[in-house]
């Protein structure tokens, strides 16, 4: 055992000296231990990403050899008003997610964390349930609620306020916000759980100190609560952004991207190009663009919000 141990620790040092520290022989054990992860990571992450990038420089219908077209797909994307529209729609969805859904989740979490709240668990379940309901069911329910002529919402608005029927899913502008509302309804409860966990971990002493210093509710929130939950808030913001940027279920199930292309998201654009139009190279190029945007914005958010850095 001892000799084996010596070999494992000494030989790599010698080899490193002779070969600029790059040889793995003898010191392979750590690499072997971490290899399963990296093999799978390379196989299922790196190779597909490289394949997508390679595919994005080709024209391929799914059969036969792809034809190399260089950057033509990217140039076509730049000219494609449909892709521009999809980017704009995804931008709206991400704004709704980051600017409305996240703060609302925090607000709900604050409410649920309030002292003396009755039926706290019941509220938690009620808020969380939309996240675990199948998107198909959600689409069906909201189709019933939002239908222009026979929907529950219009019927209620008409009965209560005499408001004429609104085409929630058929009007190009309103439909975007209807999708945004469904996104909000589905994800607020889920994000609330993160905030609630964070709020429950804020030391009570900080609130007591703030109270002794005469801080009001708003000031306490700004100076105690927010800084204390900043890591979780940052995580929620970034993950909400990423999921909204890749939004597919809601527009696909509720409107199929319509009316026209007014609710088409980038993820739907990619799906449509690949699996309805057999334009795999074009779809891959759109996927690479989406990846680049999501990656860059996420990195920017990471830096702005200080994720992974000490307070």
């Amino acid at each position: 055992m001892m000799s084996t141990h010596t070999e494992l620790t000494v030989v790599p040092t010698e080899l490193r000296r002779k070969h600029g520290g790059r040889s793995l022989r003898g010191g392979a054990a750590p690499y072997l231990f971490i290899a399963p992860f990296y093999v799978l990571y390379a196989l299922f992450m790196i190779v597909p990403v490289l394949a997508a990038i390679a595919l994005s420089t080709t024209e391929w219908v799914g059969i036969g050899m792809p034809a190399f077209v260089g950057l033509d797909n990217y140039l076509d994307l730049a000219r494609d008003t449909s892709f521009g529209g999809a980017l704009a729609n995804s931008g709206i969805y991400t704004l709704i997610a980051v600017i409305i859904v996240v703060p609302l989740s925090l607000l709900v979490a604050q409410g649920l964390a309030a002292k003396g709240l009755k039926f706290r668990d019941g509220f938690r379940v009620a808020y969380f349930v939309p996240m675990v309901i199948s998107p198909i069911v959600i689409a069906l329910i909201f189709s019933l609620i939002l239908d222009r002529d026979y929907g529950l919402l219009n019927a209620s608005l008409h009965a209560l306020f005499g408001i004429p029927n609104v085409d929630w899913l058929g009007d190009p502008t309103i439909a975007k916000f209807a999708i945004g509302f469904v996104l909000l309804w589905r994800t607020v409860g889920y994000l609330t759980i993160f905030f609630l966990a964070a709020l429950q971990n804020v030391p009570k002493e900080l609130y007591e100190a703030a109270a002794l210093d005469g801080a009001g509710r708003w000031r306490t929130f700004l100076t105690v609560t927010l800084p204390s939950i900043r890591p979780v808030a940052a995580f929620v913001v970034v993950t909400s952004f990423i999921s909204a940027a890749q939004l597919f279920d809601e527009p696909y199930l509720l409107t199929k991207g319509g009316p026209g292309e007014s609710t088409l998201s980038v993820a739907m654009f990619i799906f449509r190009a690949a699996f309805e139009r057999q334009q795999f190279g074009y779809a891959a190029a759109a996927g690479v663009v989406l990846f680049a945007i999501v990656f860059l914005v996420s990195q920017a958010l990471n830096r702005i919000l200080g994720i992974g850095r000490d307070q």
């Binding site: 040889s23 490289l50 792809p66």
Partner: protein, 445 residues
């Protein structure tokens, strides 16, 4: 001291990984060449059969004895069921993998358009042109055109989905409406009055999902004598027929004669039918099974069908929409057995009658429309009406549908402009011109 060989440097490891990745990528993109297996000409055969509909499984299973009697094969069907759109995706994925493709596959008409791109159809599917040649004009060209490319037929259609005017017989009687309208102008005039006085619509069109929006326009356009594409697959939007059709629909929508619903199968349509606010609809022959009966089963016996009103400018009394073609994968050991199965199941008059009785799909052989058996059939959902009296009357006016690899592009660009026209934001001519321009932009040459 020389390090014992072989050693793997970190750079070498990366090179190795990159090489492996490159090989995987190349293999993934080009697919593996399947081992050559000789075709099977007789005997027992396991036939892989893909479809999106249980009814086809039952029908083809029932057809096996007939296929066995007409051939030297003994069939065992291995059925795989998947969504209509997913079938083409899976088919292509398996073809790329070089294994696991079906022997016989049912391709919904919209999904079939994906095989028209590039050489997918010709590389994957058996050319059935010579198989159907003996049937001549009896096999209606209206139903071979949608599944053809460059004059070659790649699938046998399951249906001749002619459009008819479905309507509530009881409501028509109560309101004193005629069973048939002479022209769409008559229809719209009556519909506008009815919408104004009773809040009832004589028809409905879809306005949310792009495919549904275009389908409702398309079925009317086909009736008018137009089409979205010509036989060469080129778009034909800027035509008098298209403008005439859109003008009619715009008038109907804006007057309330035609209700707008999210889609023709969704909750909005169901509510409209159940509440009696929608008492008629122009849809293909299968819509009774997939739209009206599931939405309003309690209205059994109250519905009727009639030929469509005519367009004053021309066209016939029926349009068309939908269909599913059954294709056989080419160059497979069971390809011959697959061809024998679909021809025995689909190109036999008795089977076409059985298909109508079992599934409600209209014959694709013209001579079958003269069958006394079909003429005598009464349909309980339609109050005992003999539907074939209507179908036989209009079958010779059934239009051809020409498809294109760019159907999906047409759906998305046209739907938006149709809605602009319905909302009065563009004239029919402007909407169609803009749609044609956008189509050319997205079709990428």
């Amino acid at each position: 001291m020389t390090p014992p060989s072989p050693s793997i440097s970190r750079r070498g490891l990366f090179r190795l990984a990159a090489g492996a990745g490159g090989l995987a990528l190349l293999a993934g993109l080009t697919g593996c060449t399947p081992p050559s297996v000789p075709p099977i000409g007789s005997g027992e055969i396991d036939l892989s059969f893909w479809t999106h509909d249980d009814a086809y499984v039952r029908f083809f299973t029932d057809a096996v004895p007939r296929a066995e009697a007409a051939s030297a094969f003994r069939y065992a069907l291995g059925v795989t069921k998947a969504g209509a759109a997913d079938i083409v995706t899976k088919l292509i994925a398996q073809a790329v993998a070089g294994t696991g493709t079906p022997d016989v596959v049912g391709l919904e008409i919209g999904a079939f358009t994906r095989t028209l791109r590039g050489t997918i159809a010709s590389e994957l599917l058996t050319d059935l042109t010579d198989i159907v040649a003996p049937f001549g004009d009896d096999l209606m060209s209206a139903r071979t055109a949608p599944f053809s490319k460059d004059g070659r037929l790649y699938a046998l259609d399951s249906d001749t989905p002619m459009t008819v005017y479905y309507h509530r017989g009881d409501e028509f009687e109560r309101l004193g409406l005629p069973d048939t309208f002479g022209t769409w102008d008559d229809f719209l005039a009556t519909g506008a009055k009815l919408a104004d006085s009773d809040g009832i619509s004589l028809g409905a069109i879809a306005t949310s999902d792009p495919g549904g929006t275009v389908q409702t326009f398309h079925v009317h356009l086909l009736q008018r004598g137009g089409g979205l594409f010509d036989a060469a697959g080129e778009p034909t939007l800027e035509t008098p027929e298209a403008e005439d059709t859109l003008r009619m629909l715009v008038t109907g929508v804006q007057s309330g004669a035609l209700a707008t619903v999210s889609d023709m199968y969704g909750p909005g349509m169901q509510s409209g039918l159940k509440s009696g606010k929608i008492i008629g609809v122009n849809m293909p022959s299968w819509y009774s099974t997939y739209g009206i009966q599931p939405s309003a089963p309690e209205q059994e016996g109250l519905w009727r069908i009639s030929p469509l009103p005519r367009f004053a400018g021309g066209g016939g009394r029926t349009g068309a929409g939908g269909g599913t073609g059954f294709a056989v994968l080419r160059d497979k050991p069971a390809s011959e057995a697959g061809v024998q199965l679909i021809t025995a199941a689909y190109l036999d008059p008795e089977q076409q009658i059985k298909r109508y009785r079992d599934m409600g799909y209209l014959p694709t052989l013209r001579s079958v429309y003269d069958s006394p058996e079909l003429a005598a059939l009464e349909d309980g959902f339609f109050g005992g009406q003999r539907l074939f009296e209507v179908y036989r009357d209009i079958v010779d006016e059934a239009p051809e549908i020409h498809q294109s690899e760019n159907q999906s592009i047409m759906d998305t660009v046209l739907s938006g402009h149709l809605l602009r026209a319905y909302r009065g934001q563009a004239t029919p001519a402007e909407a169609l011109t803009d749609a044609a321009r956008d189509f050319r932009g997205q079709a990428r040459g």
